[in-house]
């Protein structure tokens, strides 16, 4: 296969979008062609450059979007329920044959009133009575001899807790929210509040876990930000080093290198040397290189 053909395939090869046979052909050509290997390196570099302008929604935007959607779906549900009630009543009235000119407008007015006030009453019930279960699930069902049925029901209820972030119960809930797998926005907000309690070892442990393991880059950045005052703490530095080497988000790596290099200690030198072997992001590379040169350290590992 010609070099020209192979070079046309390189982009799809990097995306992993070639068929097995096409991929084999590209790889065997690359093995024997130095010029195409160079072109391949350029292709990878091009992909890295394009990565630089990826946009991630902020947790605040996500939270705002979810809140707005919640309120809009409540409105849609209420209007559907109202429409359903009016439809049923109309059919009912129709069956009675009350279609005189006088009864029609009066009936319509009554139906609208029932619909409007009915839906309002329903909505206010949901909002004002927080003790109502949010969800319920029947776990066991036992039929009795007299025709009764005994159910064991699991219910989820909402309650409002108010207090200082330092209150034991509030802090425990915040630590739980910081790990809630279903809601990155909530995790990010929890990080923001827990930031003030970072002097406690259990809070710091939760932030370090989030920095290293949270799947959402925005949450990891929040955790990193909260840990800034502890940049000289050995455990924090270990985690930052691992993040620098393994986090796939260039924004997080950028913040991590800034924090480590601004508080440079000898335990970081090895990490920076290892980083140079694998890092593609130009800024992270440059900061690492500069820190090593300033410390008169080798820029290679042996």
């Amino acid at each position: 296969m010609s070099c020209e053909y192979i070079r046309q395939q390189l982009s799809l090869y990097v995306y992993g979008e070639l068929s097995f046979d096409e991929e084999e052909a590209v790889e065997s050509h690359l093995d024997g062609c130095a010029a195409c290997r160079t072109a391949m390196e350029s292709e990878r570099h091009l992909h890295n450059l394009m990565d630089q302008r990826q946009w991630e929604p902020s947790p605040q935007l996500l939270i705002a979007a979810r809140r707005e959607l919640d309120s809009r779906t409540v409105a849609v549900t209420a209007s559907r329920r109202q429409g359903w009630l009016i439809g049923r009543l109309r059919r009912w009235v129709g069956e009675w044959n009350l279609t005189t000119a006088v009864l029609k407008p009066a009936g319509a007015l009554a139906l609208v009133a029932i619909g409007v006030f009915g839906s309002r009453a329903w909505e206010s019930r949901a909002v004002e009575n927080p003790a109502e279960p949010v969800s319920a699930r029947v776990r066991f069902l036992t039929p009795g001899p007299t025709g009764d049925v005994q159910l064991v029901v699991e219910e989820t209820r909402q309650r409002v807790m108010t207090g200082r972030p330092g209150d034991a119960a509030i802090q425990q809930m915040l630590l739980t929210a910081a790990k809630d797998p279903s809601d990155p926005g909530l995790r990010a907000q929890s990080m923001e509040v827990l930031k003030e309690r970072c002097d406690r070892s259990d809070v710091r442990r939760a932030l370090l876990n989030a920095l290293e393991q949270d799947p959402n880059a925005g949450v990891r950045l929040k955790a990193l930000d909260a840990l800034r005052p502890f940049a000289k703490d050995p455990e924090t530095r270990h985690v930052l080093s691992r993040v620098l080497l393994h986090d796939d988000n260039p924004g997080v790596r950028t913040q991590a290198i800034d924090l480590l290099v601004d508080n440079l200690q000898t335990d970081t030198i090895g990490t920076l040397q290892e980083l140079l072997r694998k890092e593609n992001n130009p800024y992270v590379r440059q900061r690492s290189l500069k820190a090593l040169v300033e410390r008169n350290a080798s820029i290679e590992t042996f």
Partner: protein, 169 residues
């Protein structure tokens, strides 16, 4: 279901439209349509494909209208020259190091310039493959076209990127 997919929806809309407000609006419109039409979902494709079909159609309409009206530019004027709207949002998030700013600013400008010159279809395919990591087969299903057609769009988009970023590679 919303919590499973909504971050991806917001990210796709934001990357495509380069405006937080537009991404917010598309998010609302998408999930309201899902909510209203869930009864009509025929299970002839996966839920994700159906959902992304709605998002991409809404974004495509928006991009086409924008092209016709020539309004809502993705670039805004600043004292330092034209800057991408989303770049301002990113900067506000705290990457304030001037060295890093200098290194990546030019690259970002060129990428943004190419993105705004791509056809809406090329743009959709590129965004979904490069930034969302979706396979071309799935993209074809979302756009109601073949994998081969999606591959051609991606090929054209990356060619344009290569030309624009040639001196950085």
């Amino acid at each position: 279901l919303v919590r499973t997919y909504d971050q991806g929806v917001l990210r796709l809309a934001g990357n495509l439209l380069r405006s937080e407000q537009d991404a917010f609006d598309i998010y609302q419109e998408t999930f309201l349509r899902v909510f209203k039409n869930l009864d009509h979902f025929r299970f002839d494709c996966s839920f994700k494909t159906w959902l992304y079909r709605i998002v991409t159609n809404l974004c495509l309409d928006h991009l086409r209208k924008r092209k016709v009206r020539k309004e809502e530019p993705t670039q805004v004027a600043t004292p330092e020259g034209d800057v991408d709207r989303m770049a301002i949002v990113v900067e506000e998030r705290g990457y304030s190091d001037p060295q890093r700013h200098l290194i990546s600013q030019q690259v970002r400008h060129r990428v943004d310039a190419v993105l705004s010159d791509l056809t809406p279809r090329e743009r959709l395919v590129f965004e979904m493959r490069h930034y969302q990591g979706m396979r071309l087969k799935a993209i074809g299903e979302v756009l109601g076209t073949t994998e081969e057609a999606a591959k051609n769009c991606l090929f054209r988009a990356t060619q344009k990127m290569r030309v624009a970023l040639g001196d950085f590679v």
